[in-house]
Symmetry: C2
Subunit: 241 residues, 2 copies
DNA sequence: TAGATTGTTAATCGATTAACAATC
DNA sequence: TAGATTGTTAATCGATTAACAATC
């Protein structure tokens, strides 16, 4: 079985680079904030600053979508919100199921940012019979036995996996078999999926480890750059017990 | 104020590319699983498969760390676990504070993967006085008023922000002022930090939007590639109300 | 017109990958 | 030795960025 599109290199969809796609939500968030403040137009410089990127990159990104700006003026905020929303597919409704209603699943179910941007929690699913029927974020938890029915009747194509690592692959396979083609995986597991299924992974532990790497380097710089170095000639490499 | 090292391009730390650093935790996880099964050695092909990358990339990645393999044989699992752990700075203990003990903060506090890999939850901090003293994951929640004291006495350099978006920047500033130099941000906010502070962001909403983009494309492909396209000559561009 | 700002070009940089010589 | 597999090279590809012509 192939590993699908998991962390694949830029498949240029309609010519839009993957790196650009990943930044569109950042721009959209910044634009939404401007829209709420009724700001009519914004320059690439201002918007880039709000989104935390540089302006050349932003203009390049927007150039893949089309020419939505006005030279000498900037971008119309409302128009750009609409164009990016459409490009991201947020002008339609995406029913989402969350599988695994522990603390994390409950946190996601309660997350307000969900509903605001085209996503709708269609169902909460858990394997624990004691959870069945319990209300979380105003939605009754359903048993995993009904997973296939829920996916089919709800027309769900996006699944969020917040189960323990050991259950993730099996849940993934059932979701995919039932018709889900996009998966957001919070379990610390590499999921194997068929071709055509997208998997994105969110992994707390990995993020912390990347931070630790840089943290260690900062400490090493202060000390004179010796920490974390490989022992050289005549030095003893200390092995774990 | 500068935007620090947030999402910065590969600052090659001791010559290790950022993309490689981001994959080291994946290799480490796969190696740990092999170690638990008492597998003595592994080839680049096998390990790459377990980590979900290709073997050329894995060998290239490892070449930045040193020559830890044996031609014709493969890699010693235990030795490689140790080398990668050391490189990532996981041979030392990292006290971490979590600020914002809602569902998400509680989920992270309860997350087992924390402790297992050099990270230790040093404190849980919340702004709600009603939370103060409550036990979460066996740790008493402390009030945000004591944030600075907690950071100082605990020698904390890594902070996790799981507050609502509105509070994130302020919490970030207090963490940084107290000495935290690495931040993992779960709030849907672009944090502004001084030079030398690392920020990594985990954003559910952004991940879902990226999935929606690809999901829309898949639907468009089935329909003949017309969805999400810009209206051409003679077609009406529909604007939002 | 003068000033401002976009959209695009071209250079640069970093990441990926196949291929294979080195070597266990 | 023969077979296996690493470590490295070099080609390719994608992403970033500065600079500026186009143009509002």
């Amino acid at each position: 079985m192939a590993t699908g599109r998991q962390h694949r290199p830029a498949t240029r969809s309609r010519g839009i680079p993957e790196a650009t796609v990943a930044r569109l939500p950042l721009y959209l968030r910044a634009l939404t904030a401007l829209s709420e403040r009724s700001v009519p137009t914004v320059s690439s410089e201002e918007l880039a600053s709000a989104a935390g990127v540089n302006s050349a990159k932003l203009r390049k990104d927007f150039s893949y979508l089309g020419s939505y700006g006005t030279r000498g003026v900037g971008y119309d905020v409302e128009y750009l919100v609409y164009q990016i929303s459409r490009e991201l597919g947020l002008t339609q409704d995406w029913p989402v199921v969350i599988v695994g209603i522990g603390n994390l699943g409950a946190a996601l179910a309660n997350y307000g940012g969900f509903a605001s941007r085209g996503f709708r929690v269609a169902a909460l699913i858990d394997a624990d019979p004691a959870m069945t029927g319990k209300q979380v974020a105003g939605i009754a938890v359903q048993h995993v036995d009904d997973l296939e029915t829920i996916i089919h009747t709800g027309g769900v194509s996006i699944g969020v996996i917040t189960t323990p690592g050991g259950a993730a692959q099996q849940v993934c396979e059932r979701l995919v078999a039932a018709g889900v083609t996009s998966i957001l995986n919070f379990a610390p597991t590499v999921l194997t999926v068929p071709e055509g299924v997208d998997v994105r992974k969110v992994d707390l532990s990995i993020e912390l480890q990347i931070l630790a790497f840089h943290e260690q380097r900062k400490a090493a710089e202060e000390m004179g750059g010796q920490v974390g170095r490989e022992p050289g000639d005549g030095e003893q490499a200390v092995m774990p017990a």
